[in-house]
């Protein structure tokens, strides 16, 4: 008589097996964090139905069961281990098990060396992730499974964490991609995440078993795994219960009195000890006073049409909600609507306009403006007059409430936007980077996980006595913090309050990174749908210790601001589509692959009645009609062209393969020349693409390393496919010394990635992989060292020849760097002549890679600016003291570029820094860059990039930058 109880992060599973190991009872239920009660209920049920289980062996498993098993002295077994026991017993001969749970993903290799792997703390390809994505599509996971069956194409979606994926999915939705395709893409993202995060160099082959809720319930997810792995996996009938079964099987303890323990479990009150912050409100009076104060910040929302019937329409097509407002000539709102963005903003706006026209048949729309992620599609669909950058729209609206506003914070569905105002212009912008959004949709996800809507969920926390201190971190982490709090016995009220506080902390400490309230400003306006929740608003005021203004139309501010701008800007009749046209309005979407260049972007072509068109998904301007704003001055493009001139060739000696990633992006001129001079041939890996990345992803050992490093695995595969017999990829602790810093290091990843490659790509054993340590910073010593390496690998080579080749190589390298410098100056001159703004797009050499920068350089050019690089201006700067240790060659260039811009005091020359997600050293450079620039009153702009980037966010940053500099 054995009972196994599996307490997962979201569900509870229980099995009872008799002495013949036959299952006599099984149950599977969501526990909504009422773990103790539900467990007791299940155990009672067992004894009720099967009295012979009154005394039985009981073993607990599952991440959320650890706590109470320990306190009650119950037998506990780790869940992956339990799975293994169950699989070995029930499905002998299994080679690998893939188990997805609520928040965990696991792979077990059972044959050829047992290995068990679990996702790290930063991994989201799990049940919670699928739930989150389904709620984004406004369907249930099961519905998502259904529609995925009809997929036509698959998009790339990052699944490392829900937040990343959201920022991929939202633009797709906004561009009109079909839900069925997105659903299928989400499943594929889960597969990629599992393989990239957990396989770590081991191929998943043979007899594969799928376990856990998501795989059990979602046939399309299983199919995605089947096709991704090239296997036919098996999902057993009891797939949900394997952990519980494993727990039961592994019971070795004495049989215990089940009803007795049930009683104990039922009355089990967890420690109740968790870190708590102070309550939001101590009593009802405090709350009422708070409400009265905020009620004062209001504009009319029931304005009337005047006899001129003139109205102005503003639309904010945001990431998770769509807002629209119509104002009269006084700026009073006459009609407004706040709609969840169910993935089809066009339909929503159409409905809004129809409603509006029928409510106000006499209205004359005199102007219209649109802002937000969906700006372009809405603008094209309905003939909206102007598109405005969100920051400007919000500022315009905020001024209505507080003319001397100096700080605005907007917490929306999935992003936080903050801006400082100085001299009536937006001075500094903070946007949450892809990894730290803990915003409205984050509260939403938790609310719906517990079966509440966001409003009532957030209200729960108002009078909580001990809000859980959850810290400030991204959603995935937050899930486990909440899990821990539940374990410690926190009530749902206290968790709700804690989540509201953490939204605020996230904004303050992760996005704005403010040390104190005074840093923000004195006149603060808060807005965005999330601030409609009093708990969040109160937490914010408590955290900064200052009262703030929350407009009554907090959620509508973008639309309201847009309407005000329309009122100001559009003088003649609006181009917005008329009531009649609206009646026959049609919207068609077609997915095509662009054949304009080798990028093969997946485009969504939207056509609207009246012949208007909108194309999304493009990374360059080729497929769309040229807008003529492209500056054509792009140093990134120039550098790429320079590098493209170093083509592969054959020599009379062996051919050496070079992987085009990381530092090779700068050293190619050197090594290419060096090997050519010595008579070697050179083979190069192919251009980076998503496909190339996927090819190498199964050998990536650390899922948190930066994307440029991960890509290298694909490049090595590419060289191997070409049949290269020698790959040359030296370790380089030091870089070339450009005398700009105190030392000339490479970062640890650039320096030593060859070690990772060597140890993790098994096929390299079959060829000659040269990864010796080399220093180009000492040219004289270099000759001797490389000579020895070459002789060791290729037999005798004359030292004098090596010396000559090395001289030529250094010359070529310096020539290359010099060309960049000269061309950069040329572009800046040209920009000045044509009165174009200049963006010094700072990063590292490998940011040239289009798969890494996602076409951001081109995007800047399309905005009408010239793109110059940090290494084209750094030679003009002398070494200068910095506040941090300046000892990496690439960083020294960054600081020099910042210094150049700071000293230059030309509003038209600005810095934009590209930062790869996971780049540890950039945590240091970004702060220093900002402080160098801000010390001279200049604006610092940072763009974080990862596997996938969000061009929408990038555009906001750039357009705000240009708006702030008066462009």
């Amino acid at each position: 008589m054995k009972i196994g109880l599996d307490v997962g992060s979201t569900t509870l599973k229980c099995v009872a097996i008799d002495d013949n190991e036959k299952i006599v009872y099984k149950a599977y239920e969501r526990h909504y964090s009422k773990i103790a009660n539900m467990s007791a209920k299940m155990l009672n049920e067992i004894v009720e139905k099967h009295p012979e289980f009154a005394r039985a062996q009981l073993t607990v498993s599952g991440s959320a069961g650890m706590g109470f098993a320990q306190s009650l002295g119950l037998n506990f077994v780790q869940e992956v281990y339990a799975t293994r026991i169950a699989v070995s017993r029930l499905l002998p001969g299994t080679d690998a098990v893939i188990e997805l749970g609520g928040e965990d993903a696991k792979i077990l290799f059972l044959t050829n060396g047992t290995e068990v792997r679990m996702n790290g703390s930063c991994a989201g390809g799990t049940g919670a992730f699928i739930d989150q994505m389904a709620s984004l599509l406004e369907i249930s996971p099961l519905e998502m499974n259904e529609i995925a069956k009809g997929k036509e194409k698959v998009y790339s979606i990052a699944s490392r964490c829900g937040v990343f994926a959201k920022s991929d999915i939202q633009p797709l939705l906004n561009q009109g991609a079909a839900k069925k395709d997105i659903a299928a893409s989400i499943f594929e993202a889960v597969v990629n995440q599992t393989v990239a995060g957990l396989a770590q160099g081991r191929k998943i082959v043979g007899k594969v078993v799928y376990l856990g809720g998501p795989l059990y319930f979602l046939s399309e997810l299983r199919n995605a795994f089947d096709s991704g792995l090239g296997v036919k996996g098996h999902c057993p009938d009891d797939g949900l219960y394997f952990v519980a079964l494993g727990a039961a099987f592994s019971s070795k303890n004495e049989a215990i009195d089940i009803l007795g323990i049930t009683e104990k479990i039922n009355s089990f009150v967890s420690s109740g000890e968790y870190l708590a912050s102070k309550p939001l409100f101590n009593n009802k009076e405090e709350y009422e006073e708070f409400c009265t104060r905020h009620a004062e910040d209001a504009v009319k929302t029931d304005g009337q049409l005047y006899c001129d019937n003139r109205v102005y329409i503003g639309i904010d097509a945001g990431s998770t909600t769509v807002k629209a407002a119509a104002v009269n000539t006084d700026g009073d709102i006459v009609y407004s609507k706040y709609m969840p963005n169910s993935g089809d903003p066009v339909r929503l706006i159409k409905e809004f306009l129809i409603d509006f026209y029928s409510s106000f048949p006499s209205a004359v729309v005199c102007g219209s403006a649109v802002t937000g992620y969906g700006e372009e599609i809405i603008k094209n669909a309905f003939g909206i007059d102007v598109g405005i950058v969100e920051t400007v729209a919000h500022y315009t609206a905020a001024k209505k409430f507080k003319p001397d506003v100096d700080f605005i914070i907007d917490i929306g569905g999935q992003d936080i936007k903050c801006f400082k105002i100085r001299n009536n212009a937006i001075d500094n912008i903070f946007l949450n980077e892809a990894c730290s959004s803990g915003c409205g949709s984050f509260l939403q996800t938790f609310a719906s996980a517990w079966g509440y809507d966001i409003e009532s969920f957030s209200k729960l926390g108002l009078f909580a006595d001990k809000p859980v201190d959850l810290g400030s971190r991204c959603t995935v982490f937050m899930n486990s913090s909440v899990k821990q709090a539940q374990k410690d016995g926190a009530s749902i009220e206290n968790i709700s309050a804690g989540l509201s506080v953490s939204v605020v902390k996230n904004a303050l400490y992760k996005v704005i990174r403010a040390a104190n309230a005074d840093e923000l400003g004195k006149n603060i306006v808060v807005q965005g749908g999330t601030f409609l929740n009093d708990a969040v608003l109160r937490a914010f005021e408590q955290e900064i210790g200052r009262d703030v203004i929350r407009p009554n139309i907090s959620g509508l501010m973008g639309a309201y601001g847009a309407a005000l701008i329309a009122k100001e800007k559009v003088k003649e009749k609006s181009t917005i589509i008329s009531k009649e046209e609206l009646e026959t309005f049609e919207h068609k979407v077609k997915a095509v692959v662009c054949s304009g260049c080798s990028n093969a972007c997946r485009l969504t072509v939207n056509t609207f009645s009246g012949g208007r068109r909108f194309i999304g998904g493009n990374r360059c301007s080729k497929p769309v009609a040229s807008t003529e704003t492209d500056s054509g001055l792009n140093m990134f493009e120039y550098k790429r062209e320079l590098l493209n001139a170093y083509v592969p060739f054959n020599g009379q000696r062996e051919t050496v393969g070079l992987a085009m990633g990381l530092n090779m992006f700068e050293l190619l001129p050197f090594w290419h020349t060096f090997f050519k001079e010595l008579g070697f041939g050179v083979a190069l890996s192919e251009k980076s693409t998503r496909g190339l990345y996927v090819k190498g992803q199964h050998t990536i050992p650390s899922d948190t390393v930066c994307y440029p490093a991960k890509l290298l695995h694909g490049h090595i595969e590419s060289l191997l496919e070409q049949g290269v017999k020698h790959i040359f990829y030296p370790c380089m602790t030091y870089n070339i010394d450009e005398k700009l810093g105190d030392n000339n290091y490479n970062c640890p990843v650039v320096a030593y990635y060859p070690e990772v490659i060597r140890s993790n790509i098994p096929k390299l054993k079959e060829i000659n992989f040269i990864s010796d340590y080399l220093g180009l910073h000492r040219p004289k010593d270099f000759v001797g060292k490389i000579h020895a390496i070459l002789c060791r690998n290729f037999g005798d080579i004359a030292l004098s020849a090596v010396k000559a080749a090395s001289d030529k190589a250094y010359d070529e390298y310096h020539r290359y760097m010099n060309k960049i410098h000269i061309q950069g100056l040329q572009f800046m001159k040209e920009a000045k002549k044509r009165d174009l703004p200049v963006v010094i797009l700072c990063g590292r050499p490998y940011h040239l890679d289009e798969e890494i920068n996602h076409g951001i350089d081109k995007l800047i050019c399309r905005c009408g600016a010239a793109v110059v690089t940090e290494d084209s201006v750094s030679p003009m700067v002398e070494k200068f003291p910095t506040d941090v240790l300046d000892q990496w060659t690439y960083h020294s260039r960054l600081y020099a570029a910042a210094k150049y811009v700071a000293d230059k005091q030309d509003n038209d020359i600005n810095i934009v820094q590209l930062v790869s997600f996971g780049c540890g050293v950039d945590a240091i450079t970004t702060d220093e860059m900002r402080s160098i620039l801000e010390s001279k009153g200049r604006i610092y702009t940072q763009i974080k990039i990862d596997e996938i980037s969000n061009p929408g966010a990038v555009k906001i940053r750039l357009r705000s930058l240009f708006a702030a500099t008066g462009r």
């Binding site: 281990y81 486990s480 290091y745 640890p748 320096a751 340590y773 003291p881 910095t882 506040d883 950039d922």
Partner: protein
């Protein structure tokens, strides 16, 4: 570096309280006593809890490595506590130098102090690379020698304590003995004794003898090794009291000592010359230093072997030779190849169950930690390594769950053996 921005610790500041973060308890307790003997009032910070993390989050870029965030948070939290007069307090922090971002801690600390309104507080860098100097803070030769011997004593006490404590019959006996030795050694230092080679040669085996005499019940326990980024590896604040947790799960824990790290950092300079060229004099100086440290190491290991039946780590030169077959000796940033080497050594001496503790997103660990696990698994199929990330958001539940998985496999291996 921007020299104007630095507040120096001058000679008139001798009455200041010097606050320093704690890392390896045994070692650091002795170091504090040594500082005291030379007139520096050093206090090791033991403040713990959420406030430390919160201060860190407030004043340090949140993507910076966790140790920096904690150390800085701890120092600022201490200044905020009101226990210390900010005008009479200085901070002390170690600075490793090298290509890892950790060499920037001190600068991040200064930035944070300025932001928090403690711009006047001087920060003293304790480093091996001569990065910064302070006129009021000098390490005299005798002091340096004492510090070095504190390191040796610390390594031995830690090694023995770890191997005896889990098996002791009278609870608390081992801990009391190590405390007794910390006190005795500090007392000897105070009297100018106990730090010469000659004396250490006598005292070290004595320590082993006393530890070997503690009554134990040698049951079969799961043996776990802990490696990782140096601060996270040792500091309970950073690793969520990892050792305690492992003890509570009935394990014996082995944590490699600090001397190896010292040797490694010295050896790196020699490797640099070998790999990239450099001055002969540097080469000679470093060769001498290594010869000396190796002599000390031999003494330490001999002492550990003198009584009882303790597992003694293999010498540095030996593990280097073995490890450099899979990773280059030039891999030196952070813990560099030494981390991989320590894992190999642990596996070979029976501690194949390993927790590799690292700050979330630690750059060197992508290479020498996670990057090498596959290779190690290939070489040692029985190895059972779990990498654990630590950062302000990672929860104990998740970390412990993963460690438990490793322990479950370890248990099975133990039972099958």
């Amino acid at each position: 570096m921007n020299p104007e921005n630095r507040v120096e610790f001058t000679k008139d500041m001798m009455d200041y309280t010097l606050l320093a973060p704690n890392m390896a308890n045994i070692h650091f307790s002795m170091l504090v006593n040594i500082f005291g003997q030379y007139g520096y009032k050093v206090e090791l910070l033991k403040n713990d809890g959420r406030a430390v993390v919160d201060e860190g989050l407030k004043y340090v870029h949140n993507d910076t490595c966790y140790p920096a965030l904690l150390v800085i948070g701890q120092l600022i939290d201490a200044l905020n506590s009101g226990k210390y007069d900010p005008n009479k307090t200085a901070l002390m922090i170690t600075q490793s130098g090298g290509g890892c971002r950790a060499s920037n801690y001190i600068h991040l600390l200064r930035k944070a102090l300025k932001k928090a309104g403690y711009g006047q507080v001087p920060v003293i860098s304790l480093n091996l690379s001569g990065l910064e100097k302070n006129s009021g803070f000098k390490i005299r030769v005798s002091m340096a020698l004492k510090m070095l011997s504190a390191l040796i004593y610390g390594d031995l006490i830690m090694l023995l304590k770890n191997q005896v404590e889990p098996y002791e019959i009278n609870k608390g006996e081992t801990n009391a003995l190590s405390q007794k030795w910390i006190d005795d050694i500090s007392e000897m230092f105070k009297n100018g004794k106990g730090y010469s080679m000659r004396e250490m040669k006598k005292i070290l085996p004595q320590i082993t003898k006393e530890f070997s005499e503690i009554a134990v019940n040698k049951v079969n326990k799961v043996k776990v090794g802990v490696v990782g980024e140096i601060y996270v590896k040792y500091s309970p604040l950073a690793n969520n009291h990892l050792e305690e947790f492992l003890f509570s799960q009935g394990c014996e824990v082995m944590v490699p000592g600090l001397l190896g790290f010292f040797l490694f950092k010295t050896d790196n300079r020699l490797e640099d010359v070998k790999l990239y060229g450099g001055k002969k004099i540097k080469k000679i100086a470093m060769t001498v230093a290594i010869w000396y440290l190796t002599k000390i190491e031999t003494m330490l290991n001999d002492a550990a072997r003198a009584y009882g039946n303790f597992t003694v780590p293999a010498p540095y030169a030996h593990i280097k030779e073995k490890c450099t077959k899979i990773i280059g000796a030039g891999c030196k940033m952070g813990e560099g190849w030494l981390l991989t080497a320590e894992m190999m050594e642990l596996i070979e001496s029976g501690y194949g169950n390993i927790v590799c503790a690292q700050p979330f997103g630690c750059l060197p660990n992508h290479i020498v930690g996670k990057g090498m696990i596959r290779k190690l698994k290939e070489l040692y199929p029985q190895s059972n390594i779990v990498p654990i990330d630590y950062d302000p958001g990672a929860t104990r539940v998740n970390q412990e769950n993963r460690i438990r998985l490793m322990l479950a496999v370890a248990d099975e291996n133990l039972n099958n053996a």
